[in-house]
Structures are given as C-alpha cells and as structure tokens.
Chain length 436, copies 2
C-alpha cells in the first residue's frame, strides 16, 4: 500500500445519507485513498443523539454531540444534517477554520448559498454540493466543467422523486392523487407531511441551485415561480394521455432572449404537459432526470436516482475525493460564478404553449365568442377539440384548446376573461406544454 | 473586462470538429475567459491544405501547415486531426514542450493511451479527452470525479451513432440492413466505407477508453471482444420485437466477481437484445447513451449526441476551459489511474442470457434431443416458443429458446453441438440478452 498523506474528515449528521457515507468511507478506505491520493481518516461523526438507531452500524467512539470541536482541525467537513441551522453556522465555522466543505443541503444552499460561497472565497476554501442538486445524478460537474465552453439555453428537470412517483402511478394506473399519496407515504416514498415535495418547494430549491450554476447568476429562492401537483386529478391525467402527453412536475431554467437585446432568465417549477416521445416522459417511478439544452452540445439528459441514502452517499463521496485531491494537488473546486448575473424575469413574462380545457354552453356562437376572446388576448389557437359532456341534451360541451406560444401574462388574463365571459361554465384546467 | 492572463492555444486540425472549435473560441472569447480565468488566445491552426473548403470561415493568417512550430510555446494544444500519425507525434511533442493536451482522438487513445499518459505523467502535463468517449455526452468527469467514491459494476453504452441510426430505422420501419445503410450513407450518417462503424471498431475504441477509466485498469484495444451489426437482418429484428426486445449495438464493460475471490473485468462490443422497457431501448436515431450501474449510486444514464462537429466541439471546449483553469490554479486534470489493473477475461468466460433461434425437423423426439443437448452443455432453458415454418407440411419448426445465464464458452460449444446434431436444420441466430 502506498503511504499517503492523511486528511482528517469530519462528518456532521448520521441519518439516511450520513450513515451510508460513514459506512462507505470505512468499507472502501483503500480504494478511496488510491483515487484521492490521500488517506481519508474519519475522525468523528456529530449527531444529536448518540443512542439513536441507525441504518449502518457506526463505531460508538466516533460519535459525538460536540460538532464544533470536531470541525476544528478537520481538513474536510461533510455536512449532512439538513435544515438551515445549525448547518449554516457549522459550515461557516468549517470554512473559517480552513476546511473544504461537502454538503447535500439544498435548502441551505438555495437560501444562504451566496453567503456561504462568499465566505469560502474569502479564505480560498471550496464548497462541493453534487448531492444537493439531483441526488446521485452527476449534474454539477457536467454543468460547471463539461459545458464550460458552451452556453446552456434551457434545463428541464424532474428533480423530485416523490412527485414523479405519484404522477407516474396516476398515469399508469389511472389512480387518484390522494390514493397514490397515501400509498407513497405507506411505502416510504413520501413523508408524513408531504408539503415540501407535493407543493414543489424541494424542486424549487434544486431549480435555484441548477439555474445559478447554468447561468452564472445568483438565483434567490423567492425568484423561482413555484406550483405543486395537488391540483392534478385523474381527469387531467386522462386528458393528457388522450392528447399524447404525460404530466410531469418540471423545474424549468431558461435563458430568454426576447425583443430587447439584453438577456434574462426564468426559473420556474410547475406541473406541465410533455410529449410522450420526449426522453423525460419515460422517467418512471421515483427516478429523476435533468434534460439540458446547450447551444453547441444540443440535447443532453442525465438520469438516475434522485434520492435514497446510499445513492446520495455516492455523490457525497465523489465530492469528498475531489476535495481531497484539491488538498493534495491544489486547483479549484466547484465554486460559484455569478459573473453573468442575468436579470430574472417573473413568470408572467415567460412564453410557453398551453392546453386550456373549458366546459362551455353547447349552443351556436359560443365557439366564436371563445375564439374571439383568445384572439383579442393575443393567444393563438394551434389545435382544438370539442366533445359533448355527458348526454347530447346536457347542453355542455368540452373544449380542449392547444395554443401556440403565448405570454403567460396574456394567457392568464385571457383565461380570466373566458371565465367571466358568460359562455364558459368552468375552466377545467390550464396547463403549460414544455419540451418543444 | 477583467484583465486576465493570456494562454496560447494551438489547434491541430480544422475538419468538422476543429473548425467549430475555432469558431466558438473566437465567438465566445469573453465568456470563455470569465469561466477559465484566462484569455484563450488561438495562436494558430495547423492544417494539411490551407485552401481546403471548411464549414466555418477561419482567418487565413491563423492557418499553417507547420504543426511543429505552432506547438512550441503553446500552453494548450487541441489535437483534432484524428488517426494515429502524425497525431501521436504531435501530442508527444506538445507534452514534452510543457503544454496540456485536449484531444478527441479515440483511435489514438485506445491504441497508444498508456504511452501518452505516461509521457504526460513524466512532465506533469495533463491530457483531456471528454470528446473521445461519447462525443458531446459528458461521461469522463462523471466517471472520474462524480463516481470517484463509488464502484462501477457495469457500463452499457450505445456509443456509435451510425449503427444506432441503422438499427433504429430497421426496428421502426421494418427495413433491411443494406437499404438503411445505403440511405444513411446518402444522408451523411454513414461513411462511404462504413467498416469502422458497422463492424464495431469505433465502439470498441470507446469501450476501451470507458473501461480503462471506470475500472482503473489499462484496457488494450485487442482485449475488447468485438462483433458488428452486418449479420442483423429484418427477421432477427422482427423476432426481437415479437419477444419484447430491441437489438442495439452495445459496448459492455463489466466487473466480474465469479467464484474465485479475485476480481476481473470483461469488455465487449456486440449487437444484443435489450428489453423495450430499458432506458437504453428508447435511444433513437443517431443519439448515444451510456448506462452506468454503480454499487452505491445505482443506475445512471447519460444521453446526448454522440457525434457531430458542433456537438463534439462543446466537449472539446469544456476540456480547454478545464486545462486553462489548471494552468491558472493548479490541480489535477483527467489523468489515468491504472492502480487497480484488474485482469481482463476473454468473452468465453462471460455469462449472459441468450436467445437461440433454430429451425428443426418437425417430428417427435426432436425437442427432447435439443433439450438434452442444452442440458448436457450446462445451458438452462428459461423460455421456449415453437412455431411451424411455412405450411404445416413443410416439416420444419422454428424454436426460439431464451436461456438463463450461461457461460459464453458453454453456450458456444452447445450451439456447435446443436448444429451437428442432425435434428437442427439451421441455426438462425444466437443473440445475447443484456440489461437485466
């Protein structure tokens, strides 16, 4: 065995990911040393409760409740506690005591990223966060390094496994949202409080991180437009299938070039229709995928497990090896470049295609009225399908209108006008169509 | 504009990829400088013929036929000439004159990789080759860095666009190999001499590069088992579809753990059956994809354009930015680790599932004979379908046998024995089944 320099690694947190990281560090120590060019010595694991049950057996002498003492003297600090505090304080302590940091904490990076990256810049430390963007899927290095000579135009990501699991089962089984959610909770795919997932908060955090990196721009979390999937029902799923689409919760990060010469970006999370032939449509179960459109490289897709303790641990350990190599050989880490700092536009200024489903009075002149309102609102009709709802005598028809690209603000005002027009009984759904 | 240090970049070759690299370097100079932390000055482009027509207009004063003079004094040399010589000599010159090298030359790396990486190690230079493995798809950094803390178990890659285009059209249109090949040549998807693609040589070079990186082992090109797709006909495609499979030319790089405690690897390229539900089955047209199974990360897939001038140029420029960062900030490049140096086993010692299609005499006792030969040969039957060929009176039946996992050597000897058994009229096809 080669005689390597020893690097002191401190682990904060021993939950689903942390305990796997500890296990793999100990199990594959020799291989990791060969790849890092340094022996990675796990010097301690900070936990809240030393006696809590864990997925992986950890030597008791490594466990401590004193995170601060552990951080002092560490070369690499791995933060897997989650949440904002005390994770933020510990990461800043680590940076200021000269350590490089590896974290999977998307909530923290999406809210306090600039503070953390600035602190690291001040002292020449590096913060690695591959596991914060899309779990086990390598996306940070491809965006930062492989595409460094290219220009990312758009990212469309399925970045939340819980919602993809729910939508996929609704699609394949024709099941209802509530039933699948209950089942997902029972099987451990969804938390008992599923808000962070089903309302799109988790996806919005990841969208902010991906957009920051892809567009070299600080993207605060509150600049991300966010809608969840709780309004998606069986009827919408059926209608999507009928039209050749599937509904996915997408994180869309887009470079806009509009009429003005100045570039801007849009970052948004919402359920959208996507063509069944699109590579993202075949991402099933709790899997994640990030579809990247770049000026030169064209279309790329990165697919894999978006969550899971051992899967995420793989991404964390990749970062640990990178941090170790940097300790030995120098060089730059993942870093954060915000040199472009493009303006971020609100969702109202985004253009996409839409599918509008209406229930209207089934009498002469109604279609002309609807078409007139759309045209007045600068929303151009691409496809239209009218069907009778219930019996012929119900007097209600269903209109499914596919639009050409329209401005979100125009579309939204037009739908309001349709709802108030007197001929529309009900706006059944308005969904964006992504992926052209 | 920030005042950056200038780095001298020499480009060797101005073909489909080279001319795009030159164009992008000049077009996006400011953005590239911000990302690299250095101004990338294209000091010259070595070509064979200064007056040859090119896809991108290049300033005449940059063109030279004197590659050697261009290399001297360059900080980064981009080799896009292709072929073994003079590319090999120029790369070694560049390394020995202190430059870092970026290359897309898979033929060279698959045959002279160790020599080039050794030369680079001697002087502390780096060789970057993202574009040599799967065109525009970022796969080198994910394998080397993101998965550095994990263990790759298997890679299955669709790494040749021409053959995927041909097989995909045969599958979707029911067309014949020769017709689609002729069409692909007319459309520019296949060369006038298609040997390198359809016989699997190109895929074998990429397999050697991917396996070397994934298993930290020197994989010489002649250790890669290679079969092409020229024997695939419409009947085999139809039979595959009937059984729920699609035929893809796969580069398989596998870690074997067999009975002996010592690990080994297998690297092979051949057309194989893959389940239609597998993510690789939905890779259409000339696209490429690399499916990676890792111990902790689970299943990952990287998808995108495997070839094309501007797409490949994206990967080359990503490497150029990495090389520039290393010049400024230090650190290690892609490198080559062969610390594991696992033994590479011949294809005979690999186990996979098989689908064997036979035409047999349609009379009593034949099935028992066939089953006996399989069983004697340690090949276990998983599925069996018998159909009559032609009219009931033809006296010929078709047997499609799906096997459990069997050793290639056992399978091959068993097929020979079946062919000589007197009851088998014709061995129609023997295909491996991959992707379980």
């Amino acid at each position: 065995m080669t005689d390597y320099r020893r690097l002191r690694v401190a682990l904060l947190g021993a939950g689903a990911v942390g305990s796997q990281v500890a296990g793999l560090l100990r199990q594959h120590g020799d291989e990791l040393a060969d790849r890092a060019g340094a022996t990675l010595e796990l010097v301690g694991i900070a936990v809240r409760d030393i006696d809590a049950p864990r997925e992986v057996d950890l030597p008791r002498e490594l466990l401590t409740t004193d995170a601060e003492s552990l951080i002092i003297g560490a070369d690499i600090v791995i933060e897997l506690m989650g949440g904002i505090e005390p994770a933020r304080t510990h990461i800043l302590q680590a940076i200021n005591s000269g350590a490089d940091v590896v974290t999977a904490n998307k909530a923290l990076l999406a809210t306090h990223g600039p503070e953390i990256f600035d602190a690291a810049d001040q002292v020449g430390a590096e913060v690695y966060y591959e596991a914060a963007a899309a779990g086990a899927i390598p996306i940070i290095r491809p965006l930062r390094d492989s595409l460094a000579g290219d220009r990312v135009q758009r990212i469309m990501g399925i970045v939340n496994g819980t919602t993809n699991y729910i939508l996929d089962r609704m699609d394949t089984e024709g099941a209802d949202f509530a039933d699948v959610l209950a089942d997902a909770q029972r099987l451990g795919y969804a938390e008992s409080d599923p808000t962070a997932d089903v309302e799109g908060y988790d996806a919005a955090q990841k969208a902010a991180i991906l957009a920051s990196l892809a567009f070299h721009t600080t993207v605060p979390l509150d600049a991300v437009h966010r809608e969840g999937i709780t309004a998606i029902d069986k009827a919408m799923m059926d209608a999507a299938r009928h039209a050749g689409y599937v509904i996915k919760l997408l994180a869309v990060c887009e470079r806009l070039t509009g009429e003005a010469s100045e570039e801007s970006i849009s970052v948004r999370v919402y359920p959208a229709l996507i063509d069944r032939a699109h590579p993202l449509a075949s991402v099933h179960g709790a899997n994640n995928a990030v579809f990247v459109q770049a000026e030169a490289a064209g279309n790329l897709m990165f697919y894999g497990a978006g969550a899971g303790g051992v899967q995420t641990a793989s991404a964390v350990l990749g970062d640990v090896v990178s941090a170790a190599r940097r300790h030995i050989a120098g060089g730059v880490g993942v870093g954060e470049s915000t040199l472009a700092n493009l303006p971020i536009v609100p969702v109202g200024r985004v253009t996409t295609r839409y599918q509008i489903t209406l229930e209207v009075d089934d009498r002469p002149g109604v279609l002309a009225t609807v078409a007139g309102i759309l045209s007045d609102g600068r929303v151009s009709i691409a496809t239209l399908e009218q069907t009778v709802v219930g019996s012929d005598e119900s007097g209600v028809a269903r209109l499914v209108i596919g639009t050409h690209k329209a401005l979100e603000q125009d579309l939204s005002e037009t739908v309001d006008r349709l709802a108030a027009s007197g001929v529309v009984e009900r706006v059944v759904s308005v969904l964006r169509v992504e992926g052209d």
